[in-house]
Symmetry: D2
Subunit: 432 residues, 4 copies
């Protein structure tokens, strides 16, 4: 994890102002003692020094000890039920603003203020992002820590508000240290090495990342765009080696969007990033008129394989099922010619999965929910759009084009939220 | 106000993504309609566009209309007493975490989330700082808006946390646009023009400011330091024209600290700034061993003049009073020789004012409270330290040296907070 | 002189590599000894160290000693007439390339190589510019040093070739240290202070300077432009306080061009700067269609006063002379109404001076020669264009508009150079 | 070649000022016509435009056409022998300064001024470096062009004077575009890819390059350094993958120095770079006390194989020769154990080659000449220091440590230049 290194090398700001002799012990107890100091009046006078010492102590612990620390701090700083009750009773009695404030303060508890004070440490924000990364791992074995994480999430949403982020264009003039991280963080369509990345930074490609001003050189999220004639329909065409020119392009195909920081899970930035990048591209390239995606369909193969024969027949009928039975719970080689042969049937299933399979009235597929939630429409589904082991395993090579009609985004979003209406093109219609 | 200009020139990010036709009317009604949109689900899809339109609409209003807007938004988004009551009743009944969360959410109300969403506008943070500036003026005539301001203050304390600020050294290589603002913002010892400022940036002076990464070129607070032999005892010596060298200096005298942004009132940064600057100076100039201030004593003359004869006699005795009666409720010329002649008596009164006059168990003087609260001690009181109209009017020319003993800051702070103990030097002792 | 300071603070590059113990004496003799070392084979191994020591030693000398140094170095390194003669004889005999090279090398002498090696000193280029400044002063009393200066000029023309210069837009975001120098260097229309300068950096003004990459923060030459409707006709209008907008401007009036470095005298950069700035403005403001100047007419009043009555009568006739006799060798108050009253006659004289008074077949006025040499035309002459003491003293307030017709520059330049043809407008014609 | 790209994308500065309609033909004739214009008085008025057009026209030609152009321009602008003779005769007659100047001017000819004017083109310096690259290739088939190249070299030595260069530390924070070029330019110990390069940028390595301010992102020459305990003796140890720390290092081993630009051949920068980097390292790491190299011994194997048996016997005697006869004109496998077995004999031969084999009284080996010419000593010779195909082929794996004793550099250099004395250590002595 990158943050470790940053913290190891923190400037000794604060150290020189440290008048109290810290124990120097790197234990959960020492950590809790520092936490008490930080949250007390001492935190006001010597906050930076205490927060610094706390962050160093924390780093030295094992994950198991960190969990103990999280549990202890949660216990200590969570809202005190009895006191809240008492304040609730008083509020009901008086219904005054003063009583409301006391009630609200006690109902929030002390965890948020604790996190805010930790942020004073040198590289405090990086430290907190790293701490939440640990916390999320601890929650896997102790779900009761979810409340503590809710407070982290609440603050991070405030601090990583798009108003605070900087959009940067990643190019071959970007420093190698950032490019190296980007290679590491790209999960959707892996980048092998710098040369592979270079292709994605050429004249007919765009690459944008959001940064937070205090997390230098650390991308939070990035998006990759190809300038194409019409929406791209093959991911291999986009990422294959070569030198491109954007001469006749009229369309920006967004082909990858990656969150970089585990510690920022659920702090949604993707929808802002896409809209911001659309704006940048419009300014820079007035010839680009269309904006859409070439997106994966994760979970499609798993869903398909989870159905029994009858389930599939219910969707496409017995005759079609007999033709694509070879797909069902079988090992398919990349490029198996039967895929292309029966592409209409597979498309039909994929569209059913996209549009009809729901959870809480919304599409079951998270990528679909993301783009529809942004106001996009489903434009098309393409067979053999991702001819790779991974693509076949995930979705038999099927990928989806979502389109962002800029003049309809809000209406589409509104209908999706209020009426759970899924917007799709005429090309899709005939398969529904 | 600087923010107006920034906002006028905001990049039209968002504009192009605006699918809804905004009314374009610049009225309180239009503003409230936009606020409704922003706070609704629409704010998620089109937040940047709506926030942008809202900020433009707001700017066009008169202060009177802004007040109407604040009142309306407060009414709409403040916690709903009846609903809170209902949730309080439910909580008391169940005492579950879920009920606690509902209660806490309702008790907070909707104002904070509204402010957070406004921050998405281009230059949103600058806009919000400017909006709070307006709000503070409106509170003067409508104290009920204080609750809305509490929410602003709460968020600003989180957003302007020292962990997010950048310290910058102001020098003659700083851009003129920033220097011009500094001239405007310096309130303690006025800067006439660029030449006057240049003196304060020379080799034997230091000038540091805190900036927030998204408020470019806008200092939030700055501090001015003179390198001296021992603590400086005359403000005129420090700011008089000339070219200085720091050859034999062993002391950093902090002689001015100025908050720049009205909109950040009560978002305390001063104590962090001083400690951070001490650290910077230690790193850069190991020869500087002592850190202290040459500080004004605002309110001293007013307090003195508010006493009646007997009041003064109670402090210094009848004999001394007869000697300095000329000061009492009189017009004193700058440099009146009687001041120097009776400096011991005046010093005695000043020290009494510093140490004995209290409110809530703390010194009545706010500068004193600030430095003691930081862990500093009162080192000395100097007569004729500020030989200017302003200095005489405020405090008969008296100024105070506070000293920051780095190894005792925390203890001093602790004793001050817990036992209301005021720390002072042996030089002061004999006058107490 | 700015260069002194730079040199005082030079990084001690070279010092640590200094193996030879320099005498440390700051005398002409020490300087000449260092010069011998620099020019010898030692200069190759330890050139940076020797050049550094030489520059420090030089700085410590008086101007008188510097002159002795220049004389000695010139004597030592100037071409050896006897050797050149010998090589000339050999060349005539063999007429081979080898003999030509020997001859050329000896005919050049050693001064240029000496200057080139001095350039290795830290801040060597700044040092050499400063040295030439001194040299130009020494030439005033010892014209024989002109040959040494010719070698400086030759190298500086090569080193300050426009291909090496950076054009920078000066704005209110420029660092104060540069703005301060600009105030100092502006000679044409004095800038009182930063506020006065600020006016010239506003929306309807442009300010460009050439910098050399190794002379950081030191402008070499700068030009000031006002965006106007038609060519400006009053310098007071341009520089008066106020806030301007460029809304309806169609013309760029160049109203001041200033060389900054004495040490770069005769290293012509002005014509390149003007053409480069025209290009920048065209790129940035396509609405600006016309490019011209509002230029002073230095020497006009002196020339007029140097004529006797008959001389003037020969130009404008006896009748007109009687009307403007009040001007002749008299003290005229700024704004004297008789100037406006007889503006046609004064215009006639000014145009005669511009076009008919020549030296070496070219206009006697240097500003006129500069603009015509750039390919510009004389567009108009305006009475009371500079209503200031200085303007009246120099030219009775008369100023000149030169116009740069971009499509005719080369032809106009060619005709001016080859046929001494002076290009002027129809407005001028009727006065010729 | 990189320069092509730069030139293709040159800003159209000058284009807009182009009043003359250029033919647009991309022929040698068009080029020569433009050259005539550039060198004439037109070059003063429209120099930038003409130089720009000339550079574009030139780029379009084949190498064969470029050669024709070089030949024609050389013929046209080289010194006119008859005129020089005439001026030589006049000079002999008068021996005046004026006649000397005329003679010198004519003896120089017009090529240098032509090159200086070309430098005005956008990216003119990059263009000229690229042009000289072409010229050097043309000289291979037409040695008469050497004179033209002498003028290029003369100007480049002036323009790429160390006083104009910027030293930059190359790190993982350097932009990828520069790192990519460095990978391409490293010739001594090839860099496979970015990861391979990253190793050379770690904590215990240093990497410095010289840049010229107008050749952005184009390194001119770079040097690679390893921090080691004592001088390194194995190049494979230095460049093998891994993460290093510089904890106990006391020595900086310079293990590679590479010139990047063919077009700067013979414009010596290496000696300045090494001394400058020594200075930087001293400043940054006071613990580093020793400075030396681990250098290749190119040509050693070729020289050895060019001897006949008797020649070798003359050097090491018949007995030793019988032992290392296996080396002579044979294919040796990398790591052949006989190399290590007979290392003393091989060392003896290598030292003979280093010290005794001379041309013009100087060592025959160019790397040896370079370091001794810088004032370094031969410290040691190591067998199997470069265990690679290339290392064995070049020198049977032998490498040389040169040491830079900072306090003796000048003396050593002096003795080497004046007395052809070769400095070596006691370790070497016993083999001589």
């Amino acid at each position: 994890m990158f943050l470790k290194k940053i913290i190891d090398s923190i400037a000794d700001v604060g150290k020189s102002l440290l008048t109290k002799t810290f124990s120097g012990k790197r234990t959960v107890e020492a950590l809790l003692e520092l936490s008490d100091d930080l949250i007390s009046y001492k935190g006001i006078a010597s906050g930076i020094a205490i927060a610094r010492e706390l962050s160093v102590t924390y780093q030295a612990l094992t994950l198991e000890d960190k969990k103990l620390f999280f549990q202890a701090i949660d216990k200590k700083l969570k809202p005190n039920m009895d006191l809240v009750e008492q304040k609730a009773v008083e509020f009901i009695k008086h219904k005054s603003k003063e009583h409301l404030k006391s009630l609200a303060t006690l109902a929030e508890g002390g965890r948020q203020e604790f996190i805010r004070r930790l942020n004073m440490a040198p590289n405090g924000t990086a430290f907190l992002v790293s701490m939440r990364e640990d916390l999320l791992r601890c929650i896997e074995t102790d779900p009761s820590l979810q409340d503590l994480d809710d407070d982290f999430k609440h603050l991070f949403r405030s601090w990583f508000n798009p108003g605070f982020l900087k959009l940067e264009k990643i190019t071959w003039d970007t420093k190698a240290a950032i490019l190296e991280r980007i290679i590491k963080y790209e999960k959707v369509h892996k980048i092998k090495d710098m040369d592979d990345l270079k292709r994605r930074l050429q004249e007919d490609r765009r690459f944008f990342a959001y940064f937070h001003p205090v997390l230098q050189d650390e991308p939070l999220i990035f998006v990759q765009v190809a300038f194409t004639q019409g929406l791209a329909t093959s991911i291999q065409d986009i990422i294959k080696p070569g030198v491109g020119t954007a001469v006749k392009a009229d369309t920006a195909t967004f082909y990858s969007i990656s969150n970089c920081q585990q510690g920022l899970t659920s702090v949604t930035l993707g929808n802002f990033l896409i809209k911001r990048v659309v704006y940048e591209i419009q300014q820079e390239n007035p010839k680009i008129k269309n904006f859409g995606t070439l997106s994966p369909l994760p979970g499609f193969a798993d869903w398909f394989n989870s159905l029994n024969d009858q389930g599939i027949i219910n969707i496409i009928g017995a005759e079609d099922f007999s033709k694509i039975k070879f797909l069902h719970n079988a090992q398919i080689k990349v490029g198996d010619p039967r895929i292309a042969e029966h592409k209409k049937i597979i498309k039909k299933i994929a569209i059913h999965y996209l549009i009809k399979e729901k959870v809480n009235h919304k599409p079951i597929n998270s990528v679909t929910r993301f783009h529809l939630g942004n106001g996009a429409s489903i434009e098309d589904v393409t067979i053999n759009a991702n001819i790779s082991d991974y693509g076949y395993q995930e979705s038999f090579g099927v990928m989806v084009n979502y389109i962002y009609h800029l003049d309809k985004l809000e209406k589409t979003h509104e209908d999706f939220i209020n009426q759970h209406k899924i917007s799709y093109s005429d090309k899709i219609k005939k398969y529904v």
